[in-house]
Every structure is written in C-alpha cells, then in structure tokens.
Amino acid sequence: VHFLSRPDADQPQGTMHGLGRALFGDYLFAVELAGTLLLIASVGAIAMAPRREQGTL
C-alpha cells in the first residue's frame, strides 16, 4: 500500500527551464512581491542598524 503519491516518470523533472517557466510565468506577481519585500527588508535593516562613529570604516 502506497500511502504517498508516486512521481510520474513521464514529465521532465528538475530542469531549470520548467522552474523558470513556473517562476516567471505563473508566479510572476509573487516574484515581484518577493523582490519588493527584499528591498524593504534591506532598507529597514540599514535604518535599524546602529551608526558607526565618524571616520571609522
């Protein structure tokens, strides 16, 4: 008894072509949202980080 579903051997798996199709086709809006989230998070991290003193690298 297989209580877990088995992968289909017909469809190609693990190709960057299919992954790119999935990411920039079906999930394009989510990709843009993730990029915006990264931008906001980096701006927030820089704003929260304590300042260095003048002249120190």
């Binding site: 992968p7 990411l23 820089i46």
Partner: protein, 161 residues
Amino acid sequence: MTGDVALYLAIGAGLYALGAIGFLARRNTILMILSAELMLHGVSLTLVTFGHMHATHEGQAFTIFVLTVAACDAGLALSLFLALYQKTRSLDIDVWTELREPDVPSPRRETGPPVSAEPLREFPRLSPAGRPPDLNGDLQETFDSQHSGDRELTLTGHRDE
C-alpha cells in the same frame, strides 16, 4: 531523488523538530534565529519533496520564496540584535523582557530563590620555611653589586658616543 520520498519527508520533519527544540531551549538570540532558519529549511525540504511527488515545479518555486523571506528575516534580525547588543552588551533574550509596560508582570517564570553558592573551602597553607629574604640588608647590597656592572656598561656606551 528517485528513492523513497518518505525518507526526505522524515529528514524534513527531523530538521523542523531540531529547530523547534533549539528555538525553545536556547536563550541566545543568534542561536534562536539560527534555529528558526533550521525550521524554515526543514519546511523547504518537505516542499521540494511534495513537488517531486506531484511532478510539478510548485514546490521548488515556493522554496525560492521561502529562501527570500528567510533572507529578509536574517537581515532584519541581525541588525536588530546588533542594536540591542550595543545598548545592553548582552545577547540574552531575557533582555527583551524589559520592554514592557510598568504594570505588566514579568513574563519570566519564577525559578525559586537563587541557589546560594557554597562558601569557599579553606585550603591548608604551607608553613613558611627558610629565612625570609631581607631586602633592606645585605641582599640589597648584592643586588646593587650585580647591577653595577650594567651601569658601567652603559657608561662605556655613552663614552663611545
């Protein structure tokens, strides 16, 4: 990844359990955030395995989103911990309990009275043996006579200049 998919699911569940245990047991903020990352990656492994089982790319695509959120998480957490460390010189998570209203009781569990340390045991001391050195007496004279040679050397050095 053609083998038993149940093994990958078990590894993902194990990673999640280890992360949960570390998150609950550790009090160091950096170790807590590392445990949270471990939980995220256990979930990611489960997602990839599910995507493989259904022969779709959704699992890998969603794993990339999880990695994005984890990167935001780590960046914000590290800058927050840096600010906290520069304020209090401590990485303990209990420092955050000071950030509450004055009428709110402490969320820290009372752990009973503090355990008093044992008084220091008195170790036996060695009785003084031999003659104690007398630095004001003849020993000082021998010290001076030994170092008078050095003084002559420096004098000759000055003479050479």
